[in-house]
Amino acid sequence: MTPSRLLTHGMLLVGVLLFFLPVWLVFAASTQDASALSRGEISILPRLEGFGIYWQVLTGTGAGAQQGAVWRMLGVSFAMALAIAGGKLVVSVLAAYAVAFFRFPLRLVCFWVIFLTLMLPVEVRIMPTFELVADFGLIDSFGGLVLPLVASATATLLYRQTFLLLPDELVEAARMDGAGPLRFLRDMALPLSATNTAALFVILFVYGWNQYLWPLIAVTDTNLQTIMVGIVRMIGTEGQTYWNRVMATAMLALVPPVLVVLVMQRWFVKGLAEGST
């Protein structure tokens, strides 16, 4: 191994440690005794007899389980993230398809208006959005949780770029073969942007999973409590904070997005390899 390769690997190792260490600390802390943790005593080694906390947290049993079962929060978060990612993909594909392939009046205006919404994330428009959702009677419902987060300028822009890269002749060949607009979308545009879809799905799923502010104000029903809101509510609401529960919940909250990345990674690596001609 040459010195330069050693250096590269050394730097990569440092990077890995830097990212991995906090996660490891959370994991180690989740297995410690609750009272020891609140005294600030944290061991770098996990305590084997503390592993049972994961079961307690998932099922919402044991001391400090006021926020209920975590499996339920995981379910709500997963459904929400899935719905947000799916919804964003559907809306963006259709919007991008329209902007990229059809000539209609004010096409560019539409495009720029979509573009401008990049500057208006939920946090900026939270009051009017809340008002709107409340008027629709969607507060404390799954729809209210998901819908305001579904429109996505980022995904629209990315799809538009992908669609613009499809050669004109491909569109024309399909037209001569007799493919109408919806056929072309289904048979050509979507399969040919599958890699894009896989990558976007990962990003959007993680985005949906990490939502905190909107679920916090849009939902008060504990049955619809997401895991992000749940974790925060576990901390110091009344009396003692069971830090080992918090840490265990944090570890559990990591699992679904990591799984999604691992599964989808396969897809878009495959897509990248197939897409190159």
């Binding site: 002749e169 024309e172 037209r175 001569m176 073969d177 007799g178 109408g180 056929r183």
Partner: protein, 360 residues
């Protein structure tokens, strides 16, 4: 199955820029009509108008007498082969060919039968499950042809289908396209900028210049009697030699700039005394030495291009004009030669209008 295609005054303008100006054209059933011209002459636009991919600003497209101008591409019953093949990259060779048939609602059995036949015809049988990226350029070209053939359309449209292939493959595919088109007997419109392709493939040749069809004729007639200076200079390699001259008073001869008089063999041209002319002669018709029947021009050989079967000589005349010669025999050894321009091979054009001047 084979159809007669007629274009009537077909025009296209993009905004204020006219790309195509009232093109009339008729392709008889089974004909291969080749449209040739420099890039930007509107030949591809013409093809796209016929395909229905563009809407004409004026004029009509008729197929077997029926006006199909308002129809969309899918309902015109035409198939197009694109320059970059435009294969569906995510579909197998079989699916590429089958796609159009599926959309037309054919049964599975019909589809595999038709695709199988087309694949056999093109030697693609072993490649049906491959994806386009696993194919060579020539194979992709074949798939593109196959996609057109399986549909059994009434008209084939070819948009420079061979220009992405290397020279050797281009030759082979050219022969194959001709063979297939003849055996299927499908009327075809073929666009190219390559004059050899144009000459060898065409039943009828259309030479286009700046959005106009300047000459429509069988290829040999275009070669032998080019209608304009542009056609004369465009068709043939090396191109026709063109020398500036003027018409002598009685219209029976042209006077070159050096003062030499070239009498016309086929009769007098009408026109004013001193009318500016261009006199053309094909490189293979220029003679070295030869009989004393026509006057000789002294020339200096500047370049020799031996091609084996023939030799191209590039010579400079005393007036500075360049003349190319195509010699089949032994080329002269000296660089100072005398060339003759036989009267029966002269082409006479009006220098101002560019039109051919024929006797009478």
């Amino acid at each position: 199955m084979s159809a007669r295609l007629e274009l009537e005054g077909l025009s296209k303008a993009f905004g204020r820029t006219g790309v195509l100006h009232a093109v009339d054209l008729c392709a008889e059933p089974g004909d291969m009509v080749v449209i040739v011209g420099a890039s930007g002459c509107g030949k591809s636009t013409l093809l796209r108008l016929v395909a229905g991919l563009e809407t004409p600003s004026a004029g009509r497209v008729r197929l077997d007498g029926r006006d199909i101008t308002p129809l969309d591409p899918a309902s015109r019953d035409m198939a197009m082969v694109f320059q970059n093949y435009a294969l569906y990259p995510h579909m197998s060779v079989f699916d590429n060919m089958a796609y159009g048939l599926r959309l037309r609602g054919l049964s599975r059995a019909q589809i595999s039968d038709k695709v199988g036949k087309a694949a056999d015809m093109l030697g693609l049988g072993a490649l049906l499950s491959r994806k386009p990226r696993q194919l060579s350029g020539g194979q992709r070209q074949r798939v593109a042809m196959g996609r057109a053939i399986v549909r059994e359309p009434r008209l084939f449209l070819f948009d420079e289908p061979l220009s992405n292939l290397d020279a050797k493959l281009r030759l082979a595919m050219r022969v194959e396209i001709r063979r297939l088109q003849k055996s299927l007997g499908t009327t075809s419109l073929y666009v190219t900028h390559d004059q050899v392709e144009a000459m060898t493939l065409a039943d009828r040749l259309v030479v286009m210049e700046e959005g106009r069809a300047v000459q429509v004729a069988p290829p040999l007639e275009i070669y032998r009697r080019p209608a304009t200076l542009y056609v004369a200079g465009f068709m043939g390699a090396p191109p026709m030699n063109l020398l500036s001259a003027t018409l002598v008073a009685d219209g029976t001869a042209a006077r070159l700039e050096g003062g030499m008089v070239l009498p016309f063999a086929d009769g007098r041209r009408s026109g004013a005394d001193g009318l500016a002319l261009m006199v053309g002669i094909r490189p293979e018709h220029v003679e070295v030495g030869g009989e004393r029947s026509s006057p000789a021009l002294p020339a200096q050989v500047e370049l020799r291009e031996p091609l084996g079967a023939e030799t191209i000589l590039i010579c400079r005349l005393t007036g500075g004009e360049m003349v190319s010669l195509r010699l089949t025999g032994e080329p002269p050894e000296t660089d100072r030669i005398e060339i003759r321009l036989p009267a029966r091979h002269l082409h006479v054009f009006d220098a101002a209008s560019g039109l051919r001047l024929d006797p009478g």
